[in-house]
């Protein structure tokens, strides 16, 4: 991504050039949108988060001093926005989700959940929803987006051992619920 976004593009975007900013958007919006979606699991909310992130990025570019890479900086804003949104709405949706998860766990027969791509995505959604937002974010960044532990730690500005600990707890939980949700097909 850094190769695509040259210093010139960055400088122009920082001066308010909308075309230059569009190339930053094109290079990074996929990551932002997908992370947001996997953390909140709602397309509309993911759009809201993505918009909020890029408005912050646009305003913040003037003061961006390249102390961290642009990628890390944008990822950090995205991760924080997604996690804040998830925590803010957690109270509102907890009851509904708990009920839905319980129903889904009973209704999805073991061994058939991963039969179709749609079923597979639904199963992944159910599994990720079992985790708390911090654990979910770590799993998404590591297992779906493929970031290294060091990159995740930099993005979230936390100690690398915290990342290990969150992943360990998340995966322990996933081991417990995976069989109930998807059986042995995945």
């Amino acid at each position: 991504m850094q190769d695509i976004i040259t210093d010139e593009v960055l400088a122009k975007a920082a001066e308010g050039d909308i075309a230059a900013f569009e190339s930053i958007y094109k290079a990074t919006s996929g990551f932002v949108y997908n992370v947001a979606y996997r953390v909140v699991y709602n397309a509309h909310d993911a759009e809201e988060i993505t918009q909020e992130v890029f408005l912050k990025v646009y305003k913040g570019l003037k003061n961006f001093r390249k102390q961290s890479s642009l990628k890390t900086w944008i990822y950090r804003i995205a991760a924080n926005s997604a996690i804040n949104y998830a925590k803010k709405t957690a109270g509102e949706s907890r009851r509904r989700d708990d009920f839905r998860s319980a129903v889904d766990l009973r209704q999805v027969p073991a061994g058939t959940a991963a039969g179709t791509p749609r079923r597979y995505e639904e199963a992944i959604e159910m599994l990720l929803k079992v985790l708390n937002p911090d654990q979910r974010l770590c799993v998404v960044l590591r297992s779906i987006e493929g970031l290294s532990y060091r990159e995740i730690a930099r993005t979230l500005k936390v100690n690398i051992n915290t990342i290990r600990s969150r992943l360990k707890r998340a995966r322990s939980k996933l081991i417990t619920v995976r069989k109930e949700v998807v059986g042995d097909e995945m």
């Binding site: 569009e22 997908n34 597979y120 599994l127 297992s143 290990r164 992943l167 360990k168 995966r171 996933l174």
Partner: protein, 165 residues
Amino acid sequence: MKCRACREEMLTGYLDGEMDRRKRNCLEEHLARCAECRKFLEEAKKTGPELFRNTVRSDPPEYLWRRIRETILTEREESKSSAAGIFERIRIFSYIPKPALALAVVITLILIVGTTARIGVKSQSGLDPAIQEQMGYFYYLSDSSGDVSSNGSLGFGTQVEKYFM
């Protein structure tokens, strides 16, 4: 390496390939002789990156960029017009024809000088009676001292003085 430590490493560094060679060798030695941990590893693998390998990445919808762009442009216009509004107000306040400004300055100065001078005169005349009173008292004393000098004494010529002296 004990089973517990081994399993913790399996769930993180081992699954994600983020483990140094020495630790990895230790763990693999343990796995070679512990069937329970080998079974755990099989379960753990199913929750690692392998589980999410087939997840679909979707791009944000096309209209999202248009919405963001529109918001940026609208905010930019609003901030420009509000900045322009401030400058316009400053310009209106500062728009005074030059002769009028000069006249205003002259009038203000005259008023200031006139007021100050009046206060000075007033305060001088206000002090006059007190000074005059004090001066009269000094004249009186000097007259009395004249009596004293004629008597050759230091007295004030009062009845009490006369009685005792």
